[in-house]
């Protein structure tokens, strides 16, 4: 037995790669983290002049990544909602992975925001001097509290590690946490609905930015509801996609295809609903809302690199096509096609967040202002890459040492 042998920590009845290979993989992820740490140090020590952001691009790649990973991390709350509140038992086979991915996405987003704000030490002012009219206040409250919920959901899984679980107190604690998980799933659902919506609301309320502004229902612009729908449509796809990626990398079957097909069906149904509403929203915005501001729809796509192709890419390639694919049983049955449909679904959500952030800021509102370009610096990419590295590390450690996939021993017998 090798001195590095860690098999006693592995979940019961499964196999993992050698410690040497795992260590090498951790080193690769660590390199991304090192890049992020250097970038973070420079941004905190020298200031945000280390980025390419400016007074036109007040938000940059970090906010795009933040919004994107929060949308993709929605698989956690929505799968939790379906599993615990709607009692969809089949999804118990994937809920652990969804929670871990959600935890990574939300904690990563908060870490990133810590660098993004100019005065990180004052981050708590949003709670202390809260402005109840601000969608960002709602986002801050809900993201932070939901991260606590995610930690509570993650803890029992950690306690189920083969060695930790031998300690009777931890065993009992994990068991009881599991029994009341429905409460946290419900809380998480409530919080997540609100902050996913508020992230959309953040842009929709910008009534002096005709590209982003949307009318709506009471205080909630239509983007509030669209962001919720797009998150719950893409979140389950992202969770399944990560599981499929893990299967490819590890060479092991982790969940039955039936589970993946169910996640795909849920994603497909929601995405179809989202795309229909998004089309209606786009039509109304183009014909009525932006026209009232005196800005013709064509103007939004006439300057800089953002032509009408970007709208087609977002709604057709990242919306209509994956929705049709995910609704087709023939596609859902085939591993490769299913993965492609899910990639396109996630791509659509990311594009939407990109467009709402970057294109909103890129398009001048004053008639005598000019289009300003923005290309992130290596420090900005470093922080974004660090979140990916951080995610890989947490997920890999969880996969190696925690019983994430209940079906794994059964599916890989013999």
């Amino acid at each position: 037995m090798s001195a590095l042998d860690d098999s006693r920590f592995w979940p019961e009845g499964v196999k993992r790669c050698s410690p040497e290979r795992f260590g090498l993989w951790m080193l690769c992820c660590g390199a991304l983290l090192a890049w992020a740490l250097l970038s973070a140090f420079l941004c905190l020590y020298k200031g945000l002049n280390q980025t390419a952001m400016n007074d036109y691009f007040a938000f940059g790649v970090w906010i795009v990544v933040d919004l994107a990973i929060i949308a993709l991390g929605a698989g956690a709350f929505f799968t939790g909602f379906l599993t615990y509140l709607l009692r969809t038992d089949e999804l118990k086979n994937i809920i652990n992975a969804a929670v871990i991915i959600g935890f990574i996405c939300y904690s990563g987003a908060i870490l990133m925001l810590g660098i993004d704000i100019g005065q990180p030490i004052r981050g708590w002012f949003g709670f202390w001097h809260a402005n109840v009219h601000s969608m960002l206040t709602e986002v801050m409250f809900c993201i932070t509290t939901y991260l606590i919920v995610l930690i509570i959901e993650f803890v029992p899984l950690i306690l189920e590690n083969r060695q930790i679980n031998k300690i009777p107190e931890f065993n009992v604690f994990a068991h009881h946490l599991h029994r009341i998980m429905i409460v946290f799933a419900g809380t998480g659902t409530f919080l997540s609905f609100f902050h996913q919506g508020s992230l959309g609301g953040m842009y929709g309320v910008l009534y002096a930015r005709p590209f982003a502004f949307r009318e709506g229902f009471m205080i909630w612009p239509w983007t509030f509801f669209l962001f919720i729908l797009s998150a719950i449509a893409s979140g389950p796809s992202f969770t399944t996609l990560i599981v499929m990626l893990t299967e490819k990398v590890s060479g092991r079957r982790l969940t039955s295809h039936k589970v993946k097909m169910l996640m795909a069906k849920i994603s497909g149904g929601l995405l179809t609903f989202y795309v229909l509403l998004k089309l209606a929203d786009t039509y109304y915005w183009a014909q009525v809302t932006s026209a009232k501001a005196g800005v013709p729809f064509s103007f939004f796509y006439s300057d800089g690199p953002y032509g009408i192709w970007i709208l087609i890419l977002e709604i057709v390639v990242g919306g209509i096509i994956p929705a049709a694919m995910l609704l087709a049983p023939m596609v859902r049955k085939r591993y490769g096609l299913l993965a492609l449909a899910m990639v396109l679904n996630c791509f659509g959500a990311v594009m939407n967040r990109f467009v709402m952030t970057i294109q909103t800021l890129a398009i001048p509102v004053l008639p005598f202002e000019k289009f300003i370009g923005y290309l992130p610096t290596w420090q900005e990419w470093g922080i974004a890459a660090g979140v990916v590295g951080y995610g890989f590390i947490i997920y890999s450690l969880a996969y190696r040492y925690l019983p994430v996939f209940p079906q794994e021993p059964e599916l890989n017998k013999g």
Binding site: N54, R122, G123, K292, L361
Partner: protein, 273 residues
């Protein structure tokens, strides 16, 4: 006219036809409000200019070229009291675009004066207000201001310099309002000339007029009454409801102040009524 709930409603009228684009207003503003010179002032999209002077032209070739200047301080928007884009009946209305979005209440609309304040020591630097402002009147401190060679000795004691990582903007020289109120408190009179912004005083051609829009005796009110046909505001149809008015007799200048659909006629909003 913006709605006022308090005693005063401070605003500005800028005669575009009088402005020569000399930039004295910008310089006076920087000096008055302790706006520093950044380490790299070639990077203009990070420069801090509370009052920026935009140059526009009529887009026609020489010899028909005409030029005009839009000095642009913070518009101190009152929010849309007439609904989205001032066309719909919307009893809810909107808040000032930047005020409603700030998560930490670091910027506020003062009902007593109509001035949009900024509290740098409370700002967390999220820059959501910068994104919300269509006038680019808000500036983020991307750098620590170096104040080289004893320049800090020339700082005004009435305005706190801002630190790196916070947003700042024109305050209509609010410290001068406080000084006028102090004078009034001590038994003096608070007259029109007791509270004037630095840019107004510095303008050599008298293009900038500042005062209380609620006071019919103040020059700003008189100007808006007498020349209301020539008055307009930037991006008026968005419904931000600015308190900075511009005046021009030139139709092309007025047209460049807002966005219009192809073939659409200029919207004229009632001013001074």
């Amino acid at each position: 006219m913006p709605v006022a709930t308090g005693e005063h409603l401070y605003g500005m009228v800028i005669d575009v036809d009088k402005c020569t684009g000399c930039g004295a207003c910008s310089v006076a503003c920087m000096s008055e409000n302790n706006i520093g010179t950044l380490p790299d002032e070639t990077d203009k999209i990070r420069s801090i200019t509370w009052l920026r002077v935009y140059q526009i032209d009529n887009g026609r070739p020489y010899p028909d070229t005409e030029v005009a200047f839009f000095p642009r301080p913070c518009m101190h928007c009152g929010g849309s009291w007439g609904g989205f884009f001032q066309q719909d009946a919307d009893p809810e209305g909107h808040h000032t675009p930047c005020v409603s979005v700030c998560p930490a209440t670091a910027t506020d609309y003062d009902d007593e004066t109509g001035i949009v304040s900024q509290i740098p020591t409370r700002c967390i630097g999220c820059r959501y207000c910068v994104a919300a402002c269509p006038y680019h009147a808000r500036y983020f401190n991307w750098y620590d201001v170096p104040w080289p060679g004893g320049l800090e000795q020339s700082l005004s004691p009435y305005v706190a310099p801002r630190m790196r990582g916070v947003v700042e903007k024109c305050t209509f020289c609010y410290h001068r309002y406080q000084q006028a109120r102090d004078k009034e408190f001590a038994g003096g009179e608070f007259g029109e000339m007791d509270y004037q912004t630095a840019c107004t005083e510095a303008c050599p051609s008298g293009a900038i007029t500042f005062g209380d829009l609620n006071n019919p005796e103040h020059q700003v009110s008189k100007l808006l009454r007498q020349r209301h046909k020539h008055a307009f505001r930037l991006l008026e149809r968005l419904g931000t409801n600015p308190k900075v008015y511009y005046m021009t007799k030139r139709e092309w200048v007025r047209k460049r102040a807002d966005n219009y659909l192809p073939g659409e006629k200029i919207h004229r909003f009632a001013v001074g009524s």
